[in-house]
């Protein structure tokens, strides 16, 4: 069964499959797939970029949701704590956050292991570090979007939930969240596009994403303009696909508003 699925995926591979972009257009050029060109390496980079962005999205959204809840709570201390978080991570450059998380986690883990009696060099996974840094940045921005969406939902909705005898968590899940998603969707679309662009930074700490793979190809083949142009094109295509997809989701989320 898994063999069937992997065969299906490789047949539908948009870059290096039998009907892929690189296989059709660049069979004898620098972007040919296989040993002859850089097509399959770049296709792998595209996969890494998409995986990283998709893996960051739920983590960042959940953290961002919790921070938005904290920022609108009645407890002053909790609001202050949430404010510190968003101020720090919205003010730092993404590149610096990435370095701080990458080296900081390494030092932290090393210190913990040293206290347990293990003296060795620890190298943390670049994918994990990139995901953590991007999730932190994404969550601090998404908390602002979700917070303003929370403010757009009238108090009466909570009170109606109470009047129906729903528990607070059920009210949140059944009444507030569906409206929240609809209101926050345009802002979250922008944040997703930003996230997709920010994944380019992980190439600096050595993760084999689009930019790193095209960079290697550019250095080896001395065709820098061509390969970096391809990198830009790929990011452009990813952005187009996701704005198309989000347009679809937005129409779907708004389907109840049409006939009122």
């Amino acid at each position: 069964m898994s063999g069937f699925f992997s065969a299906l995926f490789s047949a539908l591979d948009p870059l290096c499959g039998p009907v892929g972009l690189f296989s059709l257009l660049g069979s004898n050029s620098l972007v040919a797939c296989g040993e002859a060109g850089w097509g399959d390496e770049i296709a792998f980079g595209v996969k890494v970029t998409i995986t990283l962005a998709l893996a960051t999205l739920p983590v960042g959204l959940i953290i961002g949701f919790l921070i938005a809840l904290a920022a609108q709570s009645e407890e002053k201390l909790l609001r202050l704590a949430a404010g510190i978080y968003t101020t720090i991570f919205r003010g730092l450059p993404e590149l610096l956050t990435l370095f701080i998380v990458y080296y900081g986690l390494q030092i932290l883990i090393q210190a913990v292991l040293a206290s347990l009696g293990y003296e060795g060099r620890v190298e943390i996974n670049a994918f994990f570090a990139g995901m953590a840094a991007l999730a932190v940045v994404f969550s601090s921005y998404s908390s602002e979007v979700l917070l303003s969406a929370f403010r757009a939902i009238p108090r009466g909705q909570y009170e109606a939930g109470d009047a129906l005898g729903l528990h607070r968590s059920r009210t949140m899940l059944l009444v507030i969240l569906p409206q929240l998603i609809r209101i926050a969707l345009p802002g979250l679309t922008n944040l997703w596009l930003n996230l997709l662009k920010d994944t380019a930074y992980v190439s600096v700490i050595g993760l084999a994403d689009i930019l790193r793979q095209t960079g290697i190809a550019a250095r080896v083949s001395k065709e820098a303009f061509f390969f970096y142009g391809i990198a830009c094109m790929l990011y452009l295509i990813l952005a187009m696909i996701s704005s198309f997809g989000f347009g679809f989701i937005e129409r779907w989320a708004k389907r109840s508003e049409g006939h009122r």
Binding site: L78, G91, L96, I100, L193, L236, A239
Partner: protein, 276 residues
């Protein structure tokens, strides 16, 4: 008929509800303690690892890097503002071709990473050395600083063009009609009526864009420009001291927070006639 002869004697107010230690409060205290622990450990790290020698060697370099970052961003924002005006004009033009070109420019520069644009300009255009030498532009594309400035300018021009367009289009139609009714020519109406109102709308997005530029300018460190981030990477590669990144974080946070507060002040000042 009966009536009340005696007033009800005053009673003591109800006892104050004892504020229980709600979960939110516990969570707030917990997270704040976590922040405090982090801050104390950072301060401890800085004091513990203080090295006069390193401070004297890298302190001036950090200040130089700070100046490079500020001048780079300042120039890029000003040049981008100049470049954004024709782009915004083309974006609002009725001419299909002009509009299409401006739209493509804005779309491409807004949806590709700044890092990729920088590589495309620095390494990509750098590979056309003979052609550039023939045109006499090699001195420009040879220097990483100029390339960084160029790519930051192109990037911010795309964003600023959208800000400007959105602001100008947000001015209601009645304002144009009112100006026309007063007999003002289109040019004067634009300059004296539309633009001042548009710029107030654009003020906040402009502030955000400058902050984004300061944060985005860190990427020029990757192409060997010694801005704040570049000096940090240099110092880290020499000392392997984690503090170098913390100092950079403090500098960046200070710039961004100062700018944010300055911008809030400017905005409050410029919109004081709109307050009710």
């Amino acid at each position: 008929m009966s009536y009340v002869r005696e007033l009800i004697p005053p009673r003591a107010p109800p006892a104050l509800a004892v504020k229980s230690l709600a979960p939110a409060r516990i969570a707030g205290i917990g997270v704040l303690l976590l922040w405090a622990a982090l801050a104390i450990s950072l301060v401890f790290m800085v004091i513990n690892g203080w090295d006069q020698d390193k401070f004297q060697r890298y302190g001036p370099r950090y200040l130089h890097g700070l100046w490079t970052t500020i001048s780079l961003v300042g120039l890029a924002v000003i040049l981008g503002a100049i470049l954004s005006a024709p782009v915004a004009y083309a974006r609002m033009a009725r001419n299909r071709v002009l509009n299409g070109i401006a739209y493509a420019y804005v779309y491409v520069f807004r949806s590709t990473p700044l890092l990729a644009q920088l590589f495309l300009i620095y390494y990509g255009l750098g590979s056309f050395r003979p052609e550039l030498e023939a045109v006499g532009l090699w001195w420009f594309f040879r220097e990483a600083w100029y390339c960084g400035l160029f790519s930051l300018t192109l990037n911010t021009a795309a964003y600023q063009a959208e800000i400007l367009r959105g602001a100008i289009e947000s001015v209601p139609r009645g304002q144009h009609e009112g100006a026309a009714a007063l007999g003002l020519s289109k040019r004067i109406a634009f300059r004296k009526v539309v633009l001042p109102q548009a710029l107030i709308v654009a003020l906040r997005p402009y502030g955000n864009e400058i902050v984004l530029m300061i944060k985005g300018s860190a990427v020029v460190a990757i192409v060997t420009v010694y801005d704040l981030m570049g000096e940090t990477r240099y110092a880290f590669s020499r000392t392997f001291d984690y503090q170098t990144y913390l100092w950079a974080a403090i500098f960046y946070l200070a710039i961004v927070e100062a700018l944010r507060h300055l911008w809030a002040f400017i905005e409050a000042r410029l919109t004081r006639h709109l307050k009710r």
